[in-house]
């Protein structure tokens, strides 16, 4: 079961009561169709699922955990208030924006 013959796939699924796909795990499979079937057998046994994705792991380009600070520095309202549109006075008639 070498990586060459059994590539790794990441599995994402969207539950019945959900709006987005979530990452739920990974598995090795011989090819795309079998990866989808294996994901169906492993991850949809319990619970209602409306959509299932499998993606070859090597297709995923991800941020490095070590570079988190420089690459994804905090951009929340406290530390970089100038990035958030919070300086307007909203008239009452407009309601929530």
């Amino acid at each position: 079961m070498t990586e060459k013959n059994w590539p790794l796939y990441e599995v994402f699924l969207r539950p019945r009561n959900g709006l987005a796909h979530k990452h739920v795990g990974s598995l090795h499979a011989v090819d795309d169709e079998m990866a989808l079937q294996n994901a169906r057998d492993a991850y949809t046994r319990r619970g209602e699922v409306t959509s299932l994705w499998v993606v070859p792991s090597k297709a995923i380009i991800a941020s490095e955990p070590g570079e988190k600070d420089a690459f994804l520095e905090p951009s929340d309202k406290e530390r970089k208030p100038y990035r958030h549109p919070t300086f307007y006075d909203i008239p009452d008639e407009v309601g929530h924006m």
Binding site: M1, L27, H28, A29, V30, D31, E33, M34, Q37, N38, R40, D41, A42, R45
Partner: protein, 257 residues
């Protein structure tokens, strides 16, 4: 045209037992792969399919027991009958063999069961129609899974092809029984309860033909076909299977956990 009151209960029960016993025996066979599957995800696939079949068996045997009217439960039917009382097709009791054999057996079964359940959704027997609706969806996946494996193993390495060819040839003589009809089927067809297996046969031929072609495997020629399971005449395998499957409830009657 027979009315509901004049449907022969014995034949109705026989018809249901044939469906239920086939599901039970085949489900048990797949469960024998537990802890022995080639890899983890296939272990889950086989267990899922086994549970689907056992679920179908339970529903069918419960209904058969009701029609029989002797107060037996589905558990008594499953665990306390002897081999000669079972009405499954011989294909279901054939041993698992290697993975190629298991997938070939499942392809032959599912290619029959899927169109068969589809027809049974219109059965005049409302409970059977309900079971068929659920079973059709489950069996569609079984057919997809078995087909994809037969294709990959047939059009695979020299060894996988050799094993797949052997499996197809070994099991071919058991496929004829799926399409047999007798007085029980005729009576049930007349009552609007049964499905017409001649229609199922066309679908089966098309599906199996397509899969074998894509798998670059030879379709065996139709010859003499094995028969008898539907009437309680079984191969030597069923006795051993039941000895394992029925051991616990027979040794510990009324056991609960």
């Amino acid at each position: 045209m027979t009315t509901a009151l004049t449907i022969d209960r014995t034949r109705h029960c026989q018809y249901l037992l044939r469906l239920g016993d086939t599901a039970l025996v085949l489900g048990h066979r797949l469960s024998e792969w537990c802890a022995k599957a080639p890899f983890l995800e296939e272990e889950l696939a086989l267990a899922n399919m086994a549970l689907d079949l056992i679920g179908q068996a339970r529903a069918l045997l419960k209904h058969a027991a009701g029609i029989e009217g002797r107060g037996r439960s589905e558990d008594e039917l499953a665990y306390l009958r002897d081999a000669h009382e079972f009405r499954n097709v011989l294909l279901a009791e054939q041993p698992n063999g290697d993975f190629a054999q298991t997938m070939a057996r499942h392809l032959f079964y599912a290619a029959f069961a899927e169109p068969h359940w589809a027809l049974l959704k219109s059965s005049r027997d409302a409970e059977l129609a309900g079971i068929a609706a659920k079973a059709e969806k489950e069996t569609a996946y079984h057919l997809r899974h078995a087909s994809e494996w037969v294709i990959r193993l047939g059009d695979g390495t020299a060894e996988s092809k050799r094993r797949m060819e052997l499996a197809i040839a070994d099991l071919w003589p058991f496929t004829g029984e799926l399409f047999e009809t007798d007085a029980v089927d005729a009576a049930m067809l007349d009552a609007g309860i049964a499905a017409d297996v001649s229609q199922t046969r066309e679908a089966w031929n098309a599906t199996v033909g397509t899969v074998l072609a894509e798998a670059t495997l030879q379709r065996p020629r139709d010859g003499w076909m094995q028969s008898g399971g539907r009437n309680g005449r079984h191969t030597e395998h069923l006795g051993h299977l039941l000895a394992q499957m029925q051991f616990l409830p027979r040794a510990y009657p009324g056991a609960k956990w």
